[in-house]
């Protein structure tokens, strides 16, 4: 009976569906936090929480929770209306559900909304609020460099020292700042300050030039171009009520798995490098490129740019190309798996991987971890399996699961996924369905909302899109897996040796751009 009552307070959606914005159940702002608490108790996962400015100067909060067992996403909202007693406020959700911590900081930073009782309210990306109102941590000063004089959490004591790293790192990687509190080698606490990569991507998804918007979706996180483009296209196609042919879906899935292969193989090579196992680093570093080159064959770009567009794909894979790709994959399969067998056979590699940067299943659940990192901690979640869409509805990739939550587990999950993705691709390339690859989208349904979920190689990406009353795209909210997982890295480092940081960091390999947007 209780289920009945709860479900009336949520609207249930699936991938590819769109609903009227007005049909989303509205919860009183004072009860919103408790409402999510009840939802959490029945085992749903916080997929997205964001705010949207309303014309009267208020903010509507939207909560998207995933019911992974049923393949559904449930949605509710809450209106914060301006009163004579600013600022806008509501009881914090992160106070009882840590998975909400970054989302609530985002809302506070974008709109100056105060989540009352948030355990650790601080900037997320360092930018001004949309109306210039002060965020809860005090006025924003554009002229101060970030992280500037931000008061990092500090551990006191004579023998405690602090290590500051970034934003410009030693390697050729993205910028971010890491602040370690250490006692000797031991990391007592790691605080991660990001925002250097903030480009203002979300408003550009509404650009008058549709190609520009699609390319911005592809460049939210450049190594997950296909994954983000897929979530973006799924949301827009749902709003247009468009049906994409199975052939186009198959080509999208091929590109998605090639992207996963390139990144997983590259990550495994980089992990070898971080433990000074150079044969693995050198072989896998090169093999990563072979998968990028397969994507290049399909769409003319190693990162899959310009392949996915709302309405389908811009490049077909004719039979001769499919045969060529299949042949090259068949050649790569023993080569890659041979190197991985060699790598996982080395006691020097395993000794460094095992027990490093452990994240328990309980911690992973609490902070809402996603992707290979979550599966390495024993959390059974994979969008391809839980919220299947396109060809994943017909051909299933088994979920790769490990339980130890250490660097070894995060590497082993990738190893398993490499194996399975190659098998999946060989099958799909041998048996590609017929159909038109692209159909331009018709008008979008007005006053509606839809979402797209995809399992990027790094974890779940989600795009939520809203239309206005003139059937125009009016608002798009993007989530990269990284916004969940950066906190996981910080937790995994607790009690670890600081010299293990590069290894642990690589085992998560999170996106700075995808976090900063």
């Amino acid at each position: 009976m209780s289920t009945q009552v709860q479900r009336r307070d949520w609207i249930t959606m699936r991938q590819g569906e769109c609903v009227d914005i007005a049909s989303i159940p509205r919860i009183e702002s004072d009860d919103f936090s408790d409402h999510l608490k009840v939802a959490r108790s029945r085992g749903v996962r916080l997929a997205q929480l964001f705010g949207r400015r309303t014309p009267d100067g208020g903010v509507t909060l939207y909560a998207f929770v995933a019911n992974d067992n049923e393949g559904t996403v449930e949605v509710c909202c809450s209106r914060l209306t301006p009163s004579d007693r600013p600022p806008l406020r509501y009881p914090s959700i992160a106070a009882h559900w840590p998975a909400a911590q970054a989302f609530e900081r985002e809302i506070a930073e974008q709109y100056g909304v105060h989540p009352i009782g948030h355990p650790w309210l601080k900037p997320l990306r360092y930018h001004a609020t949309d109306d210039g109102s002060p965020p809860p941590w005090g006025p924003f000063d554009r002229n101060k460099p970030i992280p500037g004089d931000y008061p990092f959490y500090r551990v006191g004591g004579e023998e405690v020292h602090e290590v500051a790293v970034g934003p410009v790192h030693a390697g050729v990687i993205e910028p971010g700042h890491f602040r370690f509190q250490c006692h000797g080698e031991e990391v007592l606490h790691l605080e991660i300050a990001l925002g250097y990569q903030h480009r203002g991507a979300e408003p550009l998804l509404l650009h008058r030039n549709a190609t520009r918007s699609a390319i911005v979706a592809e460049t939210i996180a450049g190594d997950a171009s296909i994954g983000h483009a897929l979530a973006y296209c799924t949301a827009l196609e749902a709003l247009a009520g468009a049906t994409v042919s199975i052939r186009a879906h198959a080509i999208r899935a091929i590109a998605l798995e090639l992207e996963r292969l390139a990144n997983h193989v590259g990550d495994l090579g980089a992990l070898c490098n971080d433990v000074a196992f150079l044969p693995g680093a050198s072989f896998l570093g090169r093999l990563r490129g072979e998968f990028l080159n397969l994507t290049l064959e399909i769409c003319g770009n190693r990162f899959g740019r310009n392949l996915l567009r709302p309405g389908g794909v811009l490049f077909d894979i004719p039979t001769d190309l499919a045969g060529k790709l299949r042949k090259r994959l068949e050649g790569l399969q023993p080569e890659v798996l041979g190197v991985l067998d060699m790598m996982f056979d080395q006691s020097s590699v395993l000794a460094r991987f095992e027990g490093a940067g452990v994240l328990s299943e309980e911690q992973a659940e609490e902070i809402g971890l996603v992707g290979p990192a979550a599966r390495a901690s024993g959390c059974m979640r994979d969008v391809r399996h839980d919220h299947p869409y396109g060809v994943f509805q017909f051909s299933h990739i088994p979920v790769a699961l490990e339980t130890t939550g250490d660097v070894y587990a995060r590497a082993a999950v990738r190893w398993l996924e490499v194996r399975r993705s190659i098998e999946f691709l060989l099958e799909l390339l041998g048996n590609k369905p017929a159909g038109r690859t692209f159909e331009p989208l018709g008008p979008l349904r007005p006053n509606s909302v839809a979402f797209g979920l995809s399992e990027t190689w790094r974890g779940e990406a989600m795009h939520v899109a809203f239309t206005d009353d003139a059937d125009k795209l009016a608002f798009v909210k993007v989530k990269d897996a990284s916004i969940h997982n950066w906190f996981g890295l910080a937790l995994a480092l607790r009690g670890a040796a600081i010299s293990d940081f590069p290894l642990c960091n690589k085992s998560f390999n999170l996106s700075y751009a995808g976090h900063d947007l």
Partner: protein
């Protein structure tokens, strides 16, 4: 140990022969566009309207700014006359910003760095890479040059950890306001004389993020640039080609026009 040796033998020698042998890229690869303004009907500007970054201009003859171009297919797909086509020519780097504006003629590719610089930096180039708002694709395909497939260090080019050990910066991304300060500090830390390379559409013009209030539309706005390598992202070959031209190590046969 034996297993490693066995795998090593199976892997073989994998370093590209470039630039002694020139590679052939797949037919779908989008390299340097070729434009033919004589095919344009009077007053037609469909490609200009289709272009996501206003890289194309039709006033006063057809021209395409490779510094803004994202190498998508919007112009090609929109043009009924076939006036714009992609070729598989990967050579795109130039020394001057204005050289990136493509018209009917040939592209003026990058030359060797200035003589006074070449005297000091020509034998070995140490670069500090600064990612400033890039989506990571430019950085990844720069990093690829360090793999055994390319072996960048055989040309005397190396990426270093500290700007104090560097001869210059290689910058990617549209320079977010939040990264501007760190970029300037890194530049200051590089000993003189120093060079700057702008890599990718974002670093040259802002790319897909051009005119966002959160970014600076590329490096040009704040630092003097010595080499432009366009693309979204540029292919590793395009990057290597640009770097070799810049340090004067490109054999004559591979130089082209």
């Amino acid at each position: 140990m034996l297993r490693i040796l066995k795998t090593r033998l199976a892997q073989g020698h994998r370093t590209t022969r470039f630039p002694l042998e020139l590679p052939v890229l797949p037919e779908r690869y989008r390299g340097r566009p070729k434009i033919d303004g004589s095919k344009c009907p009077e007053g037609c500007k469909v490609c200009e309207d289709a272009c996501p970054t206003e890289a194309i201009s039709t006033s006063g003859g057809l021209s395409l700014d490779l510094g803004k171009c994202l190498f998508c297919t919007a112009c090609v797909d929109s043009c009924p006359e076939g006036a714009i086509k992609y070729t598989t020519d990967y050579r795109l780097a130039t020394s001057q910003r204005e050289d990136l504006v493509l018209t009917d003629g040939d592209l003026k590719l990058a030359g060797r760095m200035r003589d006074n610089l070449f005297h000091i930096l020509g034998r070995a180039l140490r670069l500090r890479e600064v990612c400033a708002g890039s989506c990571n694709a430019c950085d990844l395909d720069t990093n690829v040059l360090n793999t055994v497939g390319w072996d960048l260090s055989r040309f005397g080019i190396q990426f270093v950890a500290s700007p104090r050990h560097a001869d210059g910066l290689l910058v990617t991304g549209p320079i977010p306001r939040n990264m501007h300060h760190a970029l300037m500090e890194t530049y200051e830390a590089v000993p003189k004389p120093k060079i700057v390379i702008a890599l990718g559409a974002c670093a040259i013009s802002g790319g897909p993020f051009a005119d966002s209030p959160e970014v600076n539309n590329g490096v040009d706005a704040t630092l003097p640039v010595d080499l432009y390598i366009p693309g979204c992202p540029p292919h590793p070959l395009t990057i290597l080609d640009g770097l070799l031209r810049f340090i004067g190590k490109m054999p004559r046969a591979a130089l082209g026009p």
